[in-house]
Amino acid sequence: MTSNFSPAAVLILGALLVPFFRAKMKSYYVILLPAAAFFLIFQLEPGSSWHAHFFGFDLTFLRVDKLSKVFGYIFTLNAFAAFVYAFYLKDNTQHMAALFYIGSSLGVVFAGDLISLYFFWEIMAVASTFLILARKTDKAQAAGMRYIMVHVFGGLCLLAGIVLTISHTGSIAFDGIAEKNLGTYLILIGFLVNAAAPPFSAWLPDAYPEATVTGGVILSAYTTKTAVYTLVRGFPGWEILIWIGCIMTIYGIIYALLENDARRILAYSIINQVGFMVTGVGIGTMMSLNGTVAHAFCHIIYKALLWMSAGSVLYMTGKSKCTDLGGLYKTMPWTLIFGAVGALSISAFPATSGFTSKSLIIDGAIHEHLAWVWLVLEIASAGVFLHAGIKFPYFVFFAKDKGLRPGETNKSMLLAMAFLSFLCIFLGVFPRPLYNVLPFPVHYNAYSITHVTSQLQLLMFSALVFFLFLPLLKRTETIAIDTDWFYRKGGRLVYQIMDVGLNAINRYSDRVFVQGIAGGLARFSRDGIARITLLPFVTYWYLKGVRFKRLQIKKENLYYNIERGVIPAGIGAGMAALFLVIIFLLS
């Protein structure tokens, strides 16, 4: 039996029922939803359905092909593991936000047109913010605020791009985009903001580490990978993506090396890994696009695993900084082992999933004879082992014993990590099931003797460098300035410049205009008229023989009356007539 029900709707509608379940039933219920969505996706037939009319446009909420299905599989699979991990959690807000977030990411992946894609894109941004705010710390509130602002900016770029493109082509279809114009570039920027491409990257390491324990696990997968999906769908072969991707790989490594907080290290390594995928999209051949999709698939698994491992440590110790951690291998051995599987996978160690997926992208670069791209990707591969493969587990579980004896984390967390560890090794040893669901046919064997030995050389000598240079890598209680400086500190700097600069201008203006010119005008408008009026009267009184003190009193009385506007009406009318005569004579 097949059913064309939207998997996005399963999670989004399912989220609404979360508050009605109590205690453990709630946990079982949220685990069940992504499992149900997974099987729903499994039996979806290629084609499109769930059409709706919207202002004369034909929207498609369910476009099924190999590309949307493979992302659907991994999104639901990862959600399943994440909710097993979050079994202890009974927080309605977090569960509902997570389900809305994951559901809308499925909505993006299965959206057949730009309008419905945008609709789900924005739900994702809002729902994910709640996973950050749910930490309920001041830092999380502030980071969540910055996070949503960046995504509002990205969403506006996307919206502007979509509007321009629709008015240009008259079509809302979302397929491979060939034409390069303002509209399509704006769409690209909108996607790249979510892919965390520099300079729009700082939101990720700013916000994710402030999220809750399970929030971090869930966030690590969806925003960046839906962006990768949209790039694969919309922008394959755009050369600029090769260079953006290459920059991302190196940028992620450099910042991860500078960071002290374990979850910030993992956040930067997301940017590094997404860099590989973006490069694959830029190369744009069937092999490299397969590589991008396969790598996104494997990356979601091992990155969730790494976030789970760091999350367990945070959950048990309340700490996530390398300088506070160390020596945890004694009391959290399983968390260490599962974390290490994730660390080896992200490093593409043979027999793990990273090895069978990343190689497709690198071989894609070789087949296109892109020597520089290939070299950057190899350097970045070595660097991954350095920052995520060794640095993360070493400083958290080994290094200097800080006397922490938290004990092993809870069983559901370990179960989820065991499940993902199994997938990492399974896909590393038997990649065929994954290769079969990729968008294009795969004729590739990662396990040639030359490939295995060259990868082992690369990684082992990277490890050697890590331990030889350990004194240089000693952690310090610092953070590294990223592009968020411009809207965090830069904003304040702008404020100060405004404060010092503009207020000085204000004071100057006040002196010159308000008190000077305007003051003069004000005085004149009061004074001048009185003085002009006085002129004929004083002359008249003088001629009448009024002198000295009496003249002075008469002058002061009249002046006072004119100034207060209480002169007898006759005099006022007379003066007005006199003015009219003067003006008439002068004109």
Partner: protein
């Protein structure tokens, strides 16, 4: 009453020495196949024996030194943004 002795394998100096030896030996072992198999060169220089070992070593040293260098400018105290 006896408490179970804590597992502290990785804290002992003699074990750390063994791990160092293991690391050197493992690195050495990865080089051996290069004497027997010829790697297909895609760009000329990448077919040389031990090329990937050299690439891994040099690029990691370069990445560490470069991050140290930019760290001089980019690293700030944790409360930098709170001030």
């Amino acid at each position: 009453m006896t408490t179970k002795k804590e597992f502290d394998f990785f804290d002992r100096p003699e074990n750390i020495r063994k791990l160092w030896i293991f690391l050197y030996v493992f690195c050495g072992l990865t080089l051996i196949p290069d004497f027997f198999i010829r790697r297909e060169a895609h760009f000329g220089f990448d077919g040389l024996p031990g090329f990937y070992a050299l690439l891994g070593f040099v690029s990691c040293v370069a990445l560490i030194l470069f991050s140290k260098l930019v760290g001089l400018v980019l690293k700030v105290k944790e409360n930098y943004y709170d001030k």
